[in-house]
């Protein structure tokens, strides 16, 4: 492979060798690096940094959906966003929904992961079955459950009636309580496999020797789970908690499709309120921008607290 550089130097630059032009590619890795990173930088600058700056400006301006910028009005948008009659109900509902979803998804995800922990053809098939719903879009899954819950086409009514639970058609989305739990059921179905997979990765990271040692020490199944599996799974559980809390705090699709925030605005989430302020009726982009910045701030604080809490316990 030893040859003079002159001979191995490729012939004249062809079009496909374009990006880091000329000789600089050899002499300046910094320039070449920037050339390859340029598309990423362009996307980040144009569609991420610029919007962040713009949303900050909008939140301090009287900015209508059709009227556009009508000048500075800080901090009116923030006070009017918080004063909206649906603000506190939406905050409270979103927190409640997040708590319920996170507890249920983590418990079920862990349960499923333990059930299919060992590798065999049978458990492989089971894992796939639990994971298939995760391949669906959240909107598609919500539309599926919308039909599943409908009084006309629901296949759930007959068995419930037969079991004597009810003698009329069940109203899955008709009351505030049933609307919440029906949506939670959809989310658990859609995401349980995903959390199972993440926890399965964690479980497989635990060495078999540790279990063997525990068995030799005479630990029972419950003891092993409580004193070995759970502590060693902490970082995986922490990751799942953060993902689940973040996802639930920002819930939108499922409520937009299933409940439209009803009945009686009882299932309006905070992101739905942002959307309503901006695009439905109120057409007030400034106020929606202000609320969306509050959501961002709350999310950063909650995630920082979670990181600290979950990290702290680790040592």
């Amino acid at each position: 492979m030893v040859s003079t550089p002159a001979l191995t130097e490729p012939p004249a630059r062809t079009a496909d060798a374009a990006p880091p032009p000329g000789r600089s590619r050899r002499h300046s890795p910094a320039l070449a690096g920037w050339a390859y990173a340029a598309p990423t930088a362009l996307f980040v600058a144009l569609f991420f940094v610029l919007p962040i700056l713009l949303v900050a400006r909008m939140s301090a301006s009287d900015w209508g959906l059709f009227a556009g910028d009508r000048g500075w009005n800080a901090p009116d948008n923030f006070t009017r966003a918080v004063d909206d009659r649906l603000f506190w109900p939406a905050v409270w509902f979103t927190l409640r929904y997040t708590a319920v979803t996170t507890v249920l998804l983590l418990a079920l995800g862990l349960g499923l992961a333990l059930l299919v922990q060992e590798s065999s053809r049978w458990t492989g098939l089971l894992r796939t079955s639990f994971l298939v719903p995760s391949a669906l879009g959240l909107a598609s899954a919500s539309l599926l459950f919308y039909a599943l819950y409908s009084p006309q086409s629901s296949p759930l009514n007959a068995p419930l009636r037969a079991a004597g639970v009810t003698d009329t058609a069940v109203s899955f989305l008709g009351t505030p309580g049933s609307a919440l739990w029906s949506t939670v059921a959809l989310i658990v179905w859609r995401f349980a496999g995903f959390y199972m997979l993440l926890l399965l990765v964690g479980l497989q990271g635990i060495s078999g020797d540790v279990y063997e040692a525990a068995r030799l020490d005479g630990a029972g199944r419950l003891q092993t789970f409580r004193h070995i599996t759970l502590p060693l799974l902490r970082s995986s559980l922490a990751l799942c908690t953060i993902l689940c809390v973040t996802g639930s705090l920002l819930a939108f699709d499922q409520f937009y499709i299933l409940t439209k925030g009803g009945p009686d605005n009882s299932t309006v989430t905070i992101v739905q309120l942002v959307y309503t302020m901006a695009f439905q009726g109120q057409n007030d982009l400034g106020r929606a921008a202000a609320l969306s910045i509050l959501v961002l701030a709350a999310l950063l604080v909650i995630n920082a607290l979670q990181f600290r809490g979950l990290r702290g316990k680790e040592d």
């Binding site: 490729p10 990006p19 991420f48 610029l50 919007p51 391949a135």
Partner: protein
């Protein structure tokens, strides 16, 4: 032997749960072709609901085409940007490298809604309002944290000697990427492409905010809107048919590329 006996109830429980997880999908497929009052398929089995779907406003073909176009563009944009970006972050030292990488990952921490409100205004200014290209560009941005991260670790997993020997043999950076490194990072590209496709195909809130011309709706928006059409009476049969059309490509891709799908999640899990 006793260990095996202990497992049997566990297996039965897991099998039962698996059936429960699959039932809604199976039901949707059956319900979309079975007879049902208030739908186009009132007696006997058949494709009446799919005909309703096909005739809805601009026709299902139009919405499918929109979805395919947006997903295709998002996949191409994401693969191109992430391939070059991953190469840059993994193989070159340049000023601002860490700052740009962290800034790219920071996209994950900002809610969609916070970005979509200014993007709605910004795309108008760029003349990309109501445009499928604009939609694909925004969806690409949302994909970048995962895609760039994934391609960076893919390039970092390639032995350094492979690139160095290509450079010694006289390849330029770009030829080394194209002829030597590209085959080595192909699994990473498949994972990134798969996730970009699924995200673009399924995204709901982004087109809801950015696209107002109903002829340019992607399929999820069209199916969701279809429910409110006929004087408030919902045609559940057509909804079920829509769900099947939406879900089928995702499930097929998932089953065919399951290994790549799982690897995508693993990389996230290991990082956390």
């Amino acid at each position: 032997m006793s260990r095996l006996a202990l497992r049997t109830p566990q297996h039965v429980l897991a099998g039962g749960l698996a059936v429960i997880f699959l039932l809604p999908l199976v039901w949707a497929a059956f319900a979309s072709v079975s007879p049902q009052a208030g739908t186009a398929q009132t007696s006997g089995w058949g494709l009446g609901n799919y005909e309703t779907l096909a005739r809805y406003q601009a026709g299902v073909g139009r919405y499918l085409l929109n979805s395919v176009a947006v997903s295709g563009m998002t996949v191409v944009f994401t693969l191109t940007v992430a391939l070059l970006g991953g190469y840059a972050f993994a193989m070159f030292a340049f000023p601002g490298r860490n700052a740009l990488f962290l800034l790219t990952l920071a996209i994950l921490m900002v809610p969609y809604a916070t970005l979509l409100i200014p993007l709605y205004v910004l795309l108008n200014d760029l003349g990309l309002q109501n445009s499928l290209v604009g939609l694909a560009l925004v969806l690409t941005m949302f994909q970048l944290p995962f895609a760039v991260f994934m391609m960076r670790i893919s390039f970092e997993a390639v032995p350094r000697e492979l690139r160095e020997s290509a450079l010694v043999d006289g390849c330029g950076n770009f030829r080394a990427l194209r002829h030597v490194l590209l085959p080595a990072v192909r699994p990473g590209l498949v994972t990134v492409g798969l996730f970009a496709f699924l995200a673009a195909w399924n995204d709901f809130i982004t087109p809801l905010v950015l696209i107002s011309d109903s002829d340019r709706f992607p399929l999820p928006l069209a199916v969701a809107n279809m429910r409110q059409q006929v004087m408030g009476i919902v045609d559940y049969g057509a909804t079920e048919a829509g769900v099947v059309v939406l879900a089928l490509p995702c499930i097929v891709l998932f089953l065919v590329l399951q290994r790549h799908y799982v690897r995508g999640f693993m990389s996230g899990a290991l990082k956390g």
